[in-house]
Symmetry: D3
Subunit: 333 residues, 6 copies
């Protein structure tokens, strides 16, 4: 069985048309709604999609043998930097509601991971209201956490700052993991949103390990997307400092979890070696950026399950841990 | 026959989902396109629409007896203040192309009025490239002009400033009218986009009449939306200054054109009296903001043709001028 | 009998020389004073004035038959945006004191309406100290309220914001009306101070009617200058939204009062029709901007009393209501 | 005979009321004018003035035996930091015209020193148009130069910067001296305008002597007001640097002129010793800040002529140089 | 005997290399330390120094006969405007510790005057922690006070502002004097740090005398460096205002102390005459800016003791007061 | 033989004391110089250094068997973001001169790689003057290129922007490689300078490969420090986009060179596999951040040569290519 902790919702155009309307009206039409029917939701899962290589979301899962997928908002659509804050609140709630409806329509296939209305015009304590609603009322099993709600426009507080403590408290109280996953990235930042994900994950790991967050919240469960940004590859760079302080960076790294959403086998192997099999959960971000076929291998670029299976050094128990058991324990599935 | 100079395109959700994608990716996916089929275009014109009181765009026109409508982008969607500028260029072109396709599908019903990619990161001379493309290649008969491309974020140059001269030059050269119509309005401005239309029209008329624009460009054709904002109602206020300068404000006002897009009869009467029947063209903005039924009269609020017909003092020739002849002359239809 | 609720003080040059000195010294000379004698005050009322068409303030009133005028500071001189705040406080107090002295000199002719020291460096609660002093100590009967104390330099909180609540509270407690009347308007705003009046009145009406202010303060008395900006003319535009929300915009409008300070008969008629005779008070702003003779009619542009009398549909009771009774009730004269 | 190079115009209140009107209207009323009559001009010179210790301007001059005074605008009124620039241009011209009229009315008593419209929104080359007009058309003999046109709001280019070269060029071409004299001083700067004068003079001397201005313009004539700010007193501080560079600071200082507008004898003596009698011209700034009687001595504080006469070490020729001859040569009187 | 209240520490290069490292790492290496040995400290006092005219610190003191010198941080190195604030705290503490060690090595020669970590990111109350540590734990006898912690980047609160009250309170409580002495000066300010000293002293005296600080803290002991900036020379300018307010500026000035750090005899004489011998303490800033020989006299420019001795009007008791007694009383030595 | 392309200069404290003096005086003392003797230079190479684990620079090289090292400025000291620009120019030149002197003292051991005065107040064309001086006059073999001259204060132009073209032109003309290596990192950025290196390298590779730089400058030689930031590890992420565009990301990556400055064997192996042995050059950054002994292995963390030798899959030719031959070809040694 395969559990994929890193999937994003495939929603009808109406959801994003709704978002466009909110941004254009700046809320003058009131909250309203996307007005999506169940048929539209089903079609969005089953219709072949040009962005996904001409295949539907469910076909992708079936082909890869993904039995259960945790789905969250499409991160680049989350618009945390837009103003006024109620636009962010409205669109986040509409997106989470859409996810909840899809989970109801396909209860064996999907579980929800919610987005948070991370407007910097609000207090983090306000973000957690939506977290509570999603977990307690809608049955979600985790949340995305965007470490840069300004989306590249300016610098937010670092993840070690006390600014973020209300979020850690709520996550611990609800006992659900947060997946580190930034959203959009706007000029003047120099990177695309996709590269911004990587940069933010690198910053996030460094900030968490160099601060007292994980000491102050020993029960906190953090999953770092995309194999932890640059850190596992560059981890030696941090060893010297850790040794000088009398610690071991490898031990610190193991306080976090990482998904396998890397698209080459050598990178996944490096990750597993660096942080340990028990800290890794299978994540494919499928369908998405990687949903194109490699002309040389014929595989989908995001056939990460095949890359994992290709790793000969993993025994069956380790494969199962990565594909299923670790996620079950972490997300209490 | 009724020609309505003030209509906006009713496009499928995919156009605005495309816009949402551009804003979220900030262009990282490339220009791409909305991928709208002809069937989707037709459906968007013919499907009952909750925002329009449960009636379709074409049904609205049929019911009102509007034979020909000039359609332009939905102004509040134009996103002129977004960055980088190529997002504005891409979405403006996609919208104008969509309008052109609708005009091809319904050649007897619609003519195009284009939006311009009015990013302040571009020079006005760059905006006019799209104007030329729409008029010369796509057969459009006019353009919207947003007097506030910053959409409320900061103050743009006033309309009398030489900043705008490249636009006036291109309009004169192509011999098409510009309709003054602002777009969105963002905080910290205090008004909704809809009220911003009115405020900008007021500023536009004052700026044009107090500058040398209309002297420098005697052939320039300007249509002020929504009956000229506050100016006809407040025109007496400007009389004193004009008299002190040896002129008459009423004469100056008649250098501009105005549409009838006011929703009460007394206002339309005041407009006609203030600027003259020959300076007015019928505009309904139908379907749109006013597409709701008045529970007292049973009329649609935007049944502006009925309000005009209700004005007893207008003779048949004047009615025809307002409904058809003035628009034919102005837009060379 | 005619009561004119909209007059501004005609003060000697020394008041403005004093202001100039404050601005130049930024208060380094201390508060000092304008040093105006009673003779200078009388002369300023009685001397022919080039700005007023060569006629004195009192002659204007006599000619128009205005028996009692409420006089307030010349709004464009109020300099709310200047810094430090004590300059605004000193000049406001000096101006209000000047008005009080004129009312003492001409007790049958004038009543005072005070300006407030609306520096944004102060709290609104601080502004109301001057309001209390004027009403309680000096016998003033109302106040001007500038909705844009930044005078065009940046955006203030909208009138529906809780920022303004201390002002509403004080007005209700003292039971005096506030007249909405902005002050100066500085670059980068694009409009003259005179047009800024109109724009701010438009914003003010929209903000009050779309917020809970008038519900939270049912006793609050607001007079909107210059016939309400653009709103009565554009009121149909707001009908659709009100209907969608289950209300009637016309009913909401009637929670406010409006003065007749419009300079054409059709506009006054439209106003009376839109909001009702009982919501209107006579205001002429005489002498002022409109104090120039129309070469065609020979009338002063600001002979608003003649325009009102020209409206044949008004019966004697309605004329009296507009000219006297409504103001008596509103201002408790 | 006494020539006083440092006097400021005593103008009627109407000039500053005009300024106040310009600032309040931001020019919306057009340039207009102060509308001052010759009688008002004469009265302003002859009327006892509370600000001047209850004595008139001319009485002050008579009492002190000042035969000829160079009068310039009241510096603190010059409002160089106001916007838009045309306000500065209008008020500067009106002030200079007023000075010219006074010089015409009292041709034996006064010569004009002009103010410049030093808005930073204009180029310095534009400022010199008014300089040329005053010198060539109105017969002025010099100009004030404000080294801080931002009036404390932000930092201008230092006086050694090439920004100022067009001013030096015009002064040399016209062969008239510039008197260094700043204008107002606004928050956030921490000093009053009066202390700002001193600070700016200190900066000016340092900047001129540490740059190549006086080498590039060997004919340039600069008079530093108020005895050169802090420099003569602190000049030893600059000696070490000059010696390290192989020069002598005292020699450099003598490239400039200084007025005697210091209010204690020891300071004047220090000045004369530091820069030499031949570099000093008599300046009293009378009537002005110092026009109050010292209760101990009974003298006016600004009786600087008495302080100079008290210096026993000066012989008759030196006294004459300070009181008359140096000024005649410098200003070509 | 000569006590010099105005000396600055001569520290090894390692102290400033440490500072450079802090600025480059922004603290990423932790606080660390400069790692200076006692031998390096001694060498820095005894080694001939190119910046000091090729002579060592101690040789300078010996040659001038300075028996005891109060040493403080080199002001221009204090970097109060750097960020984050802990860099300022670390470097200030390291510098004060270095001074304390030198005082221990040469207990008969030096006493410490501390710098404060005047980052504007901290509260003034936080600055005084270091003051207490230095006075109470390290035996320092006074402190430098920088009136412009922004170092020219922007305007700080004026010295009369309540912002500074926690500093006054701590100084009074500890009964030690503060010497007014600014630090660096960065663009956009127009002056060098050395001229900035003078400007800030001028501002400081004016601010203190025009505020209620010296009334609120009658025990406060303030020493103004460099003879008080411009004030003694320009003091007549302030007389008029004081007389108008019923006071005498000379009396106010005598509430402060001044050092003699002026480099010409006439300036020192003026200072003594203006404020009185009893308000002056000997200060040489030796070795430092003035440590260069005058080719004409052969004296060091900073041989201020010779200038004082040259003043014939001072009797032996006055000389002793300036050179020793006043400092003993003020600093409780 | 081992050639190490990534070494930084070990300079005496005087160089950084000089820098500290420049920053404190903002250049008021003139350019001056660090005044370092040859003995001090030699001592800095040979003295045991606490920061380097108690061992000297040369001992480190000897122990590792590094025969030739390319040394450049310590990047975190380069202070590109300081102002005014001439400070950056002066310190850069002083540092490069110091490197040149060390290369002269130890001609068999060191070659110079220069820093550039990358102040954003200068044009990039101005930076290349120093590049030319170093290569043409001083014999340097390459340059560091800082991709973020603002050092975290704000966003610079991306590396694909035409802003950088003058640098590419000069590098090609001189035929020397640029090593991508950022400098300091200041708040508000969230990362230490060390992590900033990694983030900037990630951005640099993405920007170069997604722009036309490498097409426009086919001869350009770029070495990316620290194994290319995150890119080799995350390279699969970029495959999908490249395939969609018809290319292969792996081929694009091979247009660049990378050093081996990673501190774990698995990371170096991944790098070699991802970009090819022929694109890699040995770099140790020794002595530096990694100069601490691992308590488990007893090795220095920066014993990168041992990690390379541990890779069994590399044959002797490949080892030689990495350790020597590739660097010889790239740097023409």
């Amino acid at each position: 069985m395969i559990i994929d902790v890193h999937g994003h919702v495939s929603a009808p155009a109406e959801l994003y048309s709704y978002k466009s309307n909110l941004l254009s009206s700046r809320g003058a039409h009131g909250r309203g709604g996307a007005g999506i029917s169940d048929d539209q939701l089903r079609a969005a899962l089953r219709a072949p999609n040009r962005s996904f290589g001409g295949v539907s979301h469910l076909d992708h899962l079936d082909e890869a043998g993904i039995d259960l997928q945790l789905i969250s908002p499409r991160p680049f659509q989350m618009m945390h930097s837009e103003s006024p804050a109620f636009l962010v609140e409205w669109f986040t709630a509409e997106t989470n509601d859409t996810i909840a409806r899809i989970c109801s329509l396909e209860p064996d296939r999907f579980r929800g991971v919610c987005g948070l209305p991370q407007s910097m015009e609000l207090e983090p304590a306000a973000w957690t209201q939506e977290l509570r609603r999603c977990v307690q009322d809608l049955g979600f099993v985790g949340a995305l956490l965007n470490t840069d709600p300004y989306e590249g426009l300016r610098q937010p507080p670092g993840l070690g700052d006390r600014f973020w403590y209300p979020v850690w408290e709520a996550l611990c109280e609800l006992d659900v993991p947060a997946m580190i996953h930034s959203a959009g990235c706007r000029p003047p930042a120099r990177e695309s949103y996709s590269l911004h994900f990587i940069q933010e994950e690198t910053l996030a790991v460094a900030a968490l390990l160099q601060s007292s967050v994980l000491t102050d919240f020993p029960e906190l469960k953090i999953v770092v997307s995309h194999g932890g940004g640059a850190i596992p590859y560059q981890r030696g760079r941090f060893s010297a400092g850790a040794i000088r302080s009398g610690g071991r960076f490898e031990d610190q790294l193991r306080k976090l979890h990482f998904d396998t959403c890397l698209y080459t086998r050598d990178a996944i192997e490096l990750l597993l070696g660096a942080v340990g099999v028990d800290r890794c959960v299978f994540g494919s971000e499928k369908p998405g950026t990687g949903s194109v076929r490699d002309p040389e291998t014929g595989r989908w670029i995001d056939d990460i399950h095949l890359l994992v299976r290709d790793i000969e050094s993993l025994d069956a128990g380790e494969q199962k841990a990565i594909f299923e058991a670790n996620a079950r324990a972490l997300y209490r599935l």
